[in-house]
């Protein structure tokens, strides 16, 4: 065993591990410093955690789209962030119209349902069309080809919506029933955050049940294992793939509304960063794995929210919040390098050779 270690460990490994350990030491040292200095009160920590959880729920929902598509096609649907954006951006207009009509606060539940419906429909339609037009012709192409296509699609969608709706920011109206906070002892949760968390959990449970227990879900899983065999067993592979994209689109649409409830501004570029972070979540949890997406999303949300104060502040880095995205991307880089199968493991590991 030891002999094999010595022969297989190369300079590359040493450098990578060195880097990893360096960062880990930094994180631990920073955390200790922060906690020792006691810069933050417990209430602030609670606040950060709640914020992280709410954010994490949204990431998890977007991550679901990456995970479902990856599970079934082994492809990173880079355009998924724009599918998220398209639903959310469109829904802002619906929300605005409802607000103008005075329904927004007199029929809040109905309004919310309408807005959700708009977002989910738009996202699902876009997801469906993207698969049909851009991905389907390339299903058996080398791996990089669909990825480049997906990047192209992402830009096309981003700038199409910029052209359609304009390059400005569009506000999403606040709802009266979501104002204020609920207090449990020391813990204070904004109602918007509560809505995001509860909404994300409900949606995850629904989608998990679909994948796990329905006929469609079974078909999806068998297509994910082996397309040819699934086709031989009479499964319409194209239809299942389309359904997968639809499901991913719907969850992205819902995620869009939850995101807007937390951060009430929409613009054409709003998808990029959450999309990349959701992808990170998917990889963190184990891409292709539905519970993994949830776990990854929550973890990433927490790290991003708590991280800057916890370990960057302690290292004496000024304005640590500027680097919260850098934390997420660093996690992305390191998880892909050290454990590309994620925490829960990729459902189907790729074999080489």
């Amino acid at each position: 065993m030891l002999r094999m270690w010595r022969q297989r460990v190369t300079l590359t490994d040493l450098v990578i591990w060195g880097l990893g350990i360096l960062i880990l030491v930094g994180v631990v040292w920073g955390s200790i410093q922060t906690l020792r200095l006691g810069k933050y009160t417990l209430a602030i920590w609670y606040d950060l955690i709640i914020t992280g959880l709410a954010l994490g729920g949204v990431y998890a929902l977007i991550a679901l789209g990456y995970t479902l598509v990856y599970g079934i096609l082994r492809m990173i649907n880079f355009a998924h962030s724009e599918i998220f954006m398209s639903g959310a951006f469109t829904a802002t207009f619906a929300a605005d119209a409802l607000y103008q009509a005075g329904w927004w606060n007199s029929y809040p539940v109905l309004s919310l349902l309408i807005v959700l419906l708009v977002a989910a429909t738009v996202s699902a339609t876009i997801a469906f069309s993207v698969e049909r037009i851009a991905y389907r012709p390339l299903r058996y192409a080398p791996r990089l080809v669909p990825l480049i296509t997906a990047i192209g699609t992402s830009f096309f969608l981003q700038y199409t919506f910029r052209g359609l709706y304009g390059s400005g920011q569009k506000g999403y109206p606040d709802m009266d029933i979501f104002q204020g906070a609920i207090v449990f002892g020391d813990v204070r949760i904004l109602k918007t955050q509560l809505v995001a968390i509860v909404g994300a959990v409900i949606m995850m449970v629904i989608l998990f049940s679909i994948v796990q227990y329905t006929k469609i879900g079974k078909a999806m899983r068998s297509v994910s294992e082996d397309k040819e065999t699934a086709a031989l067993m009479g499964i319409d592979v194209d239809r299942i793939i389309s359904t997968t994209f639809l499901l991913g689109g719907i969850s992205a649409g819902v995620a869009g509304i939850l995101f807007l409830i937390l951060f009430p501004v929409a613009h054409f570029f709003m998808g990029f960063v959450p999309g990349l972070k959701a992808f990170t979540s998917a990889v963190l949890g184990g891409i292709g794995n539905v519970p993994g997406a949830f776990l990854g999303g929550v973890l990433l949300g927490l790290l991003e929210s708590v991280g800057p104060s916890l370990f960057l502040d302690g290292l004496g880095i000024p304005a640590p919040y500027q680097l919260k995205d850098a934390i997420a991307f660093t996690i992305l880089v390191f998880i892909l390098i050290f454990r590309p199968t994620g925490i829960l493991g990729e459902r189907m590991a790729q074999t080489k050779l």
Partner: protein, 560 residues
């Protein structure tokens, strides 16, 4: 989009019309039609905006016609007319809808101006009918075009394409010919208007190009002009001519176009670099801008008096910048070596973003200037002359491109180049050929990084300042898109791609807003229809054998 019908039926005609109409509506609503409304092709007659909404309908009709070779009857014309009309009806519906409800509340570009353009400014009752008539007529023309003999088809299509291109390039052409007074006057009075072509000029041009194409397609298919086939005197003369043209280009073009040329060349530099990483070695690097940033910032940090008491000159700082680029290529390359292709792409994207965020942060502000960037970066001097105008910087870029081109060509046909390509084709087998994939991949990363770093240093010197927001992901996408358009792995492809994708948007200012929309559509279209690019990579002939084309015997059927 799979359109497969045995013959061009009525149903199919409607379908094609709807598809074309949908694309036309999308192009109208994202604002392209209105934006190009003032960019006339033939002054007062039709503008690029109109081309943009008519072209999709026309394109869909002719695409479908081309798929069915058999149809030669007059029915074809009728069907195409219908398809065109359907497309027109869809646009007309948009116009009418716009009159009834205020689409503009949501769709910012659904403006009266757009409606005016769509209806050829014919006002309300007549306008939509004019629109439908025009599209129907164009559809019929497309159908009739399809019935023409190939020679006439070529003549017609090329004449129209050149007409449009000449109309669009009016400013550039005028800028050149204005130097010769007589020609300039002639062009100004006969050919060009204040925007686009004069109607008379357009007709002359159409006949001229048409005649030329018709005549040439009648000639027996001659061998293309190749420098290699010419006697040495002509060969050297041609090469000298080309070099001379490149050397005098800024004088011919003037300041404004020199700047465009500088940008094109900067992207050629980066394109040649990314071509090594993606095209040769097959490693999709989406964080390529990081090395550009590292080159530019090293130059800034070393030469700006803001950050150093004793700033270096450009030439003193250049080797440092290149070495640091090289080393950062190695450092960023190391961790990603073990990753599969698509993960590698995402990790490099992550790296690019991390570099940008770090540069932006207050944390590194004392060293890198934060959001303010770095100013007062040194410009290169030669003797007592400071290269600070666009024309002078052109020569710096030219020198850079020359050196990098030389290196790229040399590397392509070397032991290392072959190793990169082998890795791209099949990594496992390449390793079994004795190729150390770690070393070879790292060299690809580092070489690409140096090219990009060099581009960064010249960029910094050109602007005398660097800002973090000019180092974003979009730069990487620009480079990737130009490579894919030109052809991955192809060195001339990088030039073609940069000229088209970087040059064209700067010549047509209206285009800037839609740049990434078009790039996105382009990436998808190229990957689906022509993944090898416009100028595909060519393999060098080493055995130099003539009779290689005919295959000996048929492929044996593998026995089970």
């Amino acid at each position: 989009m799979q359109i497969s019908a045995p013959s061009f039926s009525w149903k199919e005609a409607v379908r094609v019309g709807v598809l074309g109409g949908a694309i036309a509506i999308l192009i109208s609503l994202v604002g392209m039609v209105a934006a190009f409304g003032e960019r006339y092709i033939v002054y007062g007659w039709f503008s690029m905006g109109q081309v943009l909404f008519l072209a999709p309908i026309l394109f869909m009709v002719s695409l479908t016609l081309r798929r069915e070779k058999a149809s030669t009857s007059s029915k074809t014309v009728l069907h195409s007319l219908l398809a065109g009309a359907v497309g027109g009806v869809m646009l007309a519906v948009l116009v009418l809808l716009g009159q009834v409800i205020n689409l503009r509340a949501v769709l910012v570009n659904a403006s009266p101006r757009l409606y005016g353009m769509l209806t050829f400014n014919q006002g309300l009752p007549a306008g939509p009918f004019v629109l439908i008539a025009v599209t129907a007529l164009l559809g019929a023309v497309a159908g009739a075009y399809h019935l023409l003999p190939p020679r006439w088809q070529r003549t017609l299509s090329q004449a129209v394409i050149w007409l449009i291109l000449t109309g669009l390039m009016r400013d550039l052409i005028m800028n050149i010919v204005v130097r010769w007074r007589l020609v300039g006057e002639l062009f100004k009075t006969v050919l060009f208007a204040s925007s686009g072509l004069q109607p008379i000029g357009a007709i002359v041009l159409l006949l001229l190009i048409g005649g030329l194409v018709y005549w040439r397609s009648g000639q027996p298919a001659g061998r293309g002009f190749s420098l290699k086939n010419q006697p040495p005197t002509i060969r050297w003369a041609s090469i000298a001519g080309i070099v001379l043209i490149f050397l005098t280009l800024p004088q011919i073009l003037g300041v404004y176009f020199s700047e465009i040329l500088d940008n094109v060349m900067m992207y050629i530099l980066m394109g040649l670099g990314l071509n090594i990483v993606v095209g040769f070695a097959g490693l999709l690097d989406l964080g390529y801008v990081a090395f550009f940033a590292i080159g530019a910032y090293t130059m800034g940090v070393l030469t700006s008096p803001e950050l150093r008491a004793e700033p270096l000159t450009y030439w003193q700082a250049l080797p440092f910048a290149l070495v640091i680029s090289f080393i950062s290529g190695l450092i960023l390359g190391l961790p990603v070596l073990k990753l599969r292709g698509d993960y590698l792409a995402i990790v490099t994207l992550g790296f690019g973003e991390i570099v940008r965020l770090l540069v932006l942060s207050d944390w590194l502000r004392p060293w890198l200037g934060g959001t303010q960037g770095i100013q007062l970066i040194a410009q290169p001097r030669i003797g007592s002359m400071v290269l600070n105008t666009q024309e002078e910087l052109y020569y710096l870029f030219l020198l850079g491109v020359g050196i990098i081109l030389f290196i790229a060509i040399r590397l392509k046909d070397s032991r290392l180049g072959r190793a990169w390509m082998a890795l791209r084709e099949d990594e496992d087998v390449a390793m079994a050929m004795g190729i150390n994939h770690v070393v070879v991949k790292l060299l690809a990363f580092a070489t690409g990084a140096v090219f990009s770093g060099l581009a960064g240093t010249i960029f910094a010197a050109k602007l005398t300042s660097v800002y973090p927001h000019s180092m974003n992901f979009l730069v990487s996408i620009n480079v990737l898109a130009l490579l894919i358009l030109g052809g991955m792995g192809s060195i001339p492809g990088a030039f073609v791609g940069a000229l088209v994708l970087i040059g064209a948007p700067e010549l047509l200012r209206e285009f800037a807003e839609f740049r990434y929309l078009v790039y996105g559509a382009l990436l998808v279209t190229m990957m689906v229809t022509r993944p090898e690019g416009l100028w595909p990579e060519e393999r060098r002939r080493l055995e130099l054998h003539e009779a290689e084309e005919e295959l000996k015997g048929a492929e044996p059927v593998p026995a089970s």
